[in-house]
Chain length 119, copies 4
Amino acid sequence: MPKDSLDDLNSRLKAFAQTRNWEQFHNPKNLTMAMIAECAELVEHFQWLTPEQSMNLTQEKHDEVTLEMADILIYLIRCAERLDIDLIGAVERKIAINEARYPVEKVFGDARRASEYED
Amino acid sequence: MPKDSLDDLNSRLKAFAQTRNWEQFHNPKNLTMAMIAECAELVEHFQWLTPEQSMNLTQEKHDEVTLEMADILIYLIRCAERLDIDLIGAVERKIAINEARYPVEKVFGDARRASEYED
Amino acid sequence: MPKDSLDDLNSRLKAFAQTRNWEQFHNPKNLTMAMIAECAELVEHFQWLTPEQSMNLTQEKHDEVTLEMADILIYLIRCAERLDIDLIGAVERKIAINEARYPVEKVFGDARRASEYED
Amino acid sequence: MPKDSLDDLNSRLKAFAQTRNWEQFHNPKNLTMAMIAECAELVEHFQWLTPEQSMNLTQEKHDEVTLEMADILIYLIRCAERLDIDLIGAVERKIAINEARYPVEKVFGDARRASEYED
């Protein structure tokens, strides 16, 4: 049975860090800082675009955006590994929570945050 | 042959948004804002911890952190879908770039950023 | 001669931290994490709004946004204090840099980032 | 009577944007994205440092950090201007809230977040 692709990346990223003796820096505190820094580089690409423009990137910008998203996933996988978290299982759990929290008939076409529905 | 788990989550998240008529809000500009907001909720868990403490979370905090990481991956998958980006392929490309940029003998045990090696 | 308002806030915030024995947590690493977490809470208010909607907030949302911006400035002042940085002087220096980097005739009505002008 | 330094910077930054016809891009949604991107550049400087190292920067890094903090304050001032928010007054209000929320005898030497005290 083929290994899942996320498991495979996890092994390669862990080896990459170990070979360079970088695991000493890869604690969750540091990794979340690195993750949000990459996330902000992604945000930066979109900050002056309209929402419509953000759907239609030039090939060059699309390519840069692709690599920024890779960086975020890399740090997410590293952080999950250090904390022994199953990312796929976590998303499945969160989808179930969201389905209960946002029933279709209550939130159809409405993007307000969950907390704003409490009132 | 089993579909990859990331593909499966992608389909479910897209259906979740479509059923709620939320795709109108899910342009990359908005999705990167949502992603960084989730990322900051993750950071917030670690801001007053030492690096050592960040490796040893209580069960309750570990659980909260797991769901924050799920949120980040959810928005990353959504954003990749809107921009037609293959996340796994992007990480593979980025690993290759990093291997060329950070040769073991140059960066062993040293966490300075790539740009700082240029000098 | 009246003290500048930023100096006054700095003194009060430092006293606030000292009285609570919180300066031990207030190193720049931790403070920048707290700052970006507050910044993301601000971003979260705008993530599903159109640019136009972001200019016209309800009174309630305007009030929440005001306090999020206060939080960011609080951590910015604290971080500057720990690193002995003169924030006002820093902005003045940066304005001078930006005036040289973005001459009016080159960037009029164009929001591309500085690096994109290099080509 | 001298104008407050923050008021002065506000006037100069507004004129800077107007002269370049950039106010069209300076809605709060875009400005908060720019602000968090700058904030992440600040975080990036500290991500691999220990808390102790973050207190003792080299002169070169201190200088870079100073300009990143200037960028954050610039966007904070711009955003406050667009939303007609008095930043100094907002911080004063927030300090009063924090004094009520974190009484010295309850939080002395303890950095847990406010919500964690509720239990």
